[in-house]
């Protein structure tokens, strides 16, 4: 399946190049050069994925990210020239699902985009429970006591990955591979930030998580149901 990708980057050469690569892979790229216009273009084009440069004229990339996230769960992949901890974490916390540091290879870009556009192809009439939550996998819904909780696709994937094997402790590296599609261990901060975000939505008390539990020194696992 091919999708529409919104590329928000002020460097027109790079944007054009990204466009060439995406188009050759069958995607449909649309462009925006300015942070202030990004939200308008997003609403007008309704893309399936957003590639977002963090350094933009006008509105800052993290701000754009926050605004898009406020009204949509569409996958957002940041393009960042800064691999410094602070910048990456700031970007992730503002709602981005993943990031690619420049300079990247075309294959890497395409792989990232595919990974985020790939919807759960698994043929699964699944209904999972984790803690006091019920998950309708094909319906893409999470409920607690009949009330629906809205998650982004990535957060949903993360929760489902944990809920499918509630007996297993997942290391951050394994989660990166399962949810983000990284083959080799990359930045485990991705996992940390998204687990925090997921907890803030699904835990009754995010300070004392019961659904996504930290296993010290190892990783995360699903909380025991009914406790």
């Amino acid at each position: 399946m091919k999708g529409r990708v919104l590329v928000v980057d002020d460097d027109t050469a790079l944007a054009e190049m990204i466009g060439i690569v995406l188009r050759s892979e069958g995607f449909d790229p649309v462009f925006c050069e300015d942070g202030d216009e990004a939200l308008g273009v997003f609403r007008a084009t309704q893309p399936d994925l957003v590639l977002l440069d963090l350094m933009l004229p006008g509105k800052d990339g993290t701000e754009v990210c926050r605004q898009i996230r406020a009204e949509s769960g569409v996958p957002i992949v940041m393009l960042t020239a800064k691999s410094d901890t602070v910048d990456v974490v700031l970007g992730l916390e503002s709602g981005a699902d993943d990031y690619i540091s420049k300079p990247f290879k075309p294959k890497e870009l395409v792989a990232r985009v595919r990974a985020r556009l790939r919807r759960s192809d698994e043929p699964a009439p699944e209904h999972l429970t984790i803690g006091d939550l019920t998950i309708d996998v094909p319906g893409h819904r999470v409920e607690r006591a009949g009330r629906s909780i809205s998650l982004t696709p990535l957060e949903f994937d993360l929760l489902v990955a944990l809920a499918r094997k509630p007996w297993q402790v997942f290391t951050r590296e394994v989660l990166l591979e399962k949810v983000w599609g990284y083959r080799h261990a990359a930045d485990t901060r991705l996992v940390n930030v998204h687990v925090q975000r997921l907890r803030s939505k699904i835990e009754t008390d995010p300070e004392r998580p019961e659904i996504v539990v930290t296993v010290r020194g190892v990783g995360y696992k699903a909380g025991v149901a009914g406790t």
């Binding site: 790079l14 190049m17 020239a81 300079p103 075309p106 870009l109 290391t171 590296e173 190892v218 990783g219």
Partner: protein
């Protein structure tokens, strides 16, 4: 007795604590030391002066009184002699009575109270009358030596201690001279004088002196204390302010009062603090600028590089459609872009260290897991180079607070470096752990390096042999970055090498932040002389079966398989560290697959 010693021990223990506190105070307080030494010197000087004055006064008083008493005794003796000579007593009883009278009469004859004894001279023969005395109990005070001395017909004296009521004694003097008594021969007349009055005067004088001395010492102490206080106080204040400055309160200053030396001290101190503050601010600013520069360069360079790289890849992907020259150009473009990118990444990383912008993202991890991961990643390169990797892990967890990304990078650099220089022989990786530190050594048996080269391997862009081709295309910054990464952990990275005997790199990291390393769980240099590579022919072979027998080591595994090997994947799980039983099945099986 044991009780007593127990109490004694308790007493000593109690006494020791204040003594120690005093000792600490003594070492830490200049004021106390100056005060103590001034008082000691003052006391010693005053005691010496007091003793000298006392000696002089008592001597003078005694001599004066003695002279007076001696002449008085002479007069009294003459008087008594005349009285005796003039008497008409002619019977022993009469003489006895006469002597009794003389004794009694002389008692009150002098200046004040005295006792008189009239004793027969020693060595007299024949019949005599008994001795007479005003106080018989004191006759014993006239010593035999004095009596003997008086025999020569001259006046003699002796100092004595007169017992008085209450068991006390008074100073006194006995003066004696011969007296001729008719019928009874030679007698000796002794006068006993008390010197208590003189003693009282002397005592009074000495008491007055002592009171004066105490007053002087007190005054001296007070003056010293005041003067040192005025001197030491500003010094203490300066020390306090300096301490605050050292703690980072850079705006701390001393109060300047007046124009004296103390004011100068305060002013100079403040100037120093001022310039210190300026410099630190300037450096902070520079560091901030540098950091921003690094960040800007990073962004500015990376964006066009991304475009170039993508364009290059697209061209490279279509290279089969071009004629050979353009095709080769596309390939060169792609590989050199890779190299350029690595170099840029390493340069940015090292300038981040230089700017002090590198931060440690530490978490507790088992080093064995990180090592296995790094070994896994390096295995394809080892296979390409015809080399293989031996891993020797301890049975216990090697937990330490580390930044896994940085430790992985260090290990990657060490492994790549080891494989590159192993020349197709084994690269041995060992992990060690003790109470304070974890360590990894990466040992190769390749060409090795000299001691001098071992000192330079961590230098930036340093190459052991410029003529050597570098097929793996390192940037020349890998080991320099590894060294910085190790230092960021508070750890050390060391190199050992001998030409022909290979090289060894050792990374030692403290298990917790703040631990100061004073050793390593693993040795850096081999502890015995191993045969050099040239001697051990089989070592050069790429077939592990041709290896000389290795000592069986617990937990040793030979990782030669490709990463997707199912046997390896369960060992590979990162944090759930493999136990000895997990790895035992593969322990002695040194296998090689292609």
């Amino acid at each position: 007795m044991p009780r007593l010693t127990a109490w004694g021990r308790l007493g000593r223990a109690l006494a020791r604590r204040p003594a120690r506190a005093l000792g600490r105070r003594w070492r830490s307080s200049l004021q106390l030391r100056v005060l103590a030494s001034t008082l000691t010197i003052g006391l010693v000087a005053l005691a010496a002066i007091g003793m000298y004055v006392g000696e002089l006064t008592s001597g003078g008083l005694f001599d004066q009184r003695r002279e007076q008493l001696l002449s008085e005794a002479t007069r009294s003796t003459q008087q008594a002699q005349e009285f005796i000579s003039a008497s008409a007593a002619d019977t022993f009883t009469g003489v006895a009575l006469l002597l009794e009278d003389v004794t009694t009469a002389q008692r009150n004859g002098g200046s004040g109270e005295r006792d008189v004894f009239l004793l027969r001279a020693p060595g007299q023969t024949g019949v005599g009358v008994g001795a007479t005395a005003t106080d018989r109990s004191l006759v014993e005070l006239v010593s035999r030596e004095l009596k003997q001395a008086v025999v020569d017909d001259r006046q003699h004296w002796q100092s004595v201690a007169i017992p008085v009521a209450g068991g006390q004694v008074e100073p006194g003097i006995v003066v004696g001279q011969n007296v001729d008594v008719p019928m009874a021969g030679t007698y000796q007349m002794f006068f006993l004088y008390s010197l208590q009055a003189e003693q009282d005067r002397l005592d009074f004088l000495l008491r007055t002196l002592a009171v004066a001395a105490v007053a002087v010492v007190g005054l001296l102490g007070a003056m010293t204390w005041l003067v040192t206080r005025r001197t030491v106080h500003p010094v203490r204040r300066a020390a306090h302010v300096a301490e605050r400055l050292a703690d980072g309160h850079l705006s701390e200053r001393m109060a300047v009062r007046g124009e004296d030396e103390m004011a100068t001290l305060a002013r100079t101190f403040n100037e120093m603090a001022e310039s210190l503050q300026d410099q630190i601010h300037r450096m902070e600013e520079l560091s901030m600028l540098q950091r921003r520069f690094v960040s800007d360069v990073s962004h500015e360079l990376r964006t066009p590089l991304t475009t170039i790289r993508m364009a290059g890849e697209v061209i490279h992907g279509a290279r089969d459609d071009f004629d050979p020259a353009i095709k080769r150009s596309a390939e060169l473009l792609a590989t050199q872009l890779d190299r350029f990118e690595d170099l840029l990444a390493d340069l940015l990383e090292i300038s981040r260290f230089d700017a002090g912008a590198a931060v440690l993202d530490a978490e507790r991890r088992d080093l064995r897991g990180i090592v296995l991961q790094a070994v896994d990643n390096a295995t394809p390169l080892a296979e390409r180079r015809g080399s293989w990797l031996h891993v020797d892990l301890p049975d216990v967890r090697a937990d330490a607070d580390v930044d896994p990304r940085r430790v992985e990078r260090i290990l990657r650099n060490l492994l790549v470096n080891g494989i590159e220089h192993a020349d197709g022989s084994a690269v041995e990786v060992r992990v060690g752990v003790d109470a304070t530190a974890v360590a990894v050594t990466v040992r190769d048996h390749g060409v090795g390096m000299t001691q001098d080269e071992a000192l330079h391997v961590f230098d930036r862009f340093w190459r052991a042999d410029p003529a050597r081709a570098r097929t793996t295309g390192g940037t020349g910054l890998g080991l320099a970055i590894s060294l910085e990464d190790a230092h960021l952990h508070g750890g050390v990275l060391e190199a050992w090498g001998r030409p022909g005997r290979g090289a060894c790199f050792r990374l030692t990291l403290p298990r917790r932040a703040g631990i100061r390393l004073d050793g390593s769980p693993l040795p850096l240099a081999p502890d015995h002389d191993e045969p050099s590579v040239a001697d051990a022919g089989p070592l050069r072979s790429t077939d592990p079966a041709a290896l000389p027998d290795l000592p069986p080591m617990t937990g040793e595994i030979a990782i030669v398989s490709n990463p997707t090997d199912p046997v390896r994947t369960d060992v590979r799980t990162d944090d759930a560290a493999p136990t000895a039983s997990d790895v035992a099945p593969t322990a002695s099986a040194a296998r090689r697959r292609s």
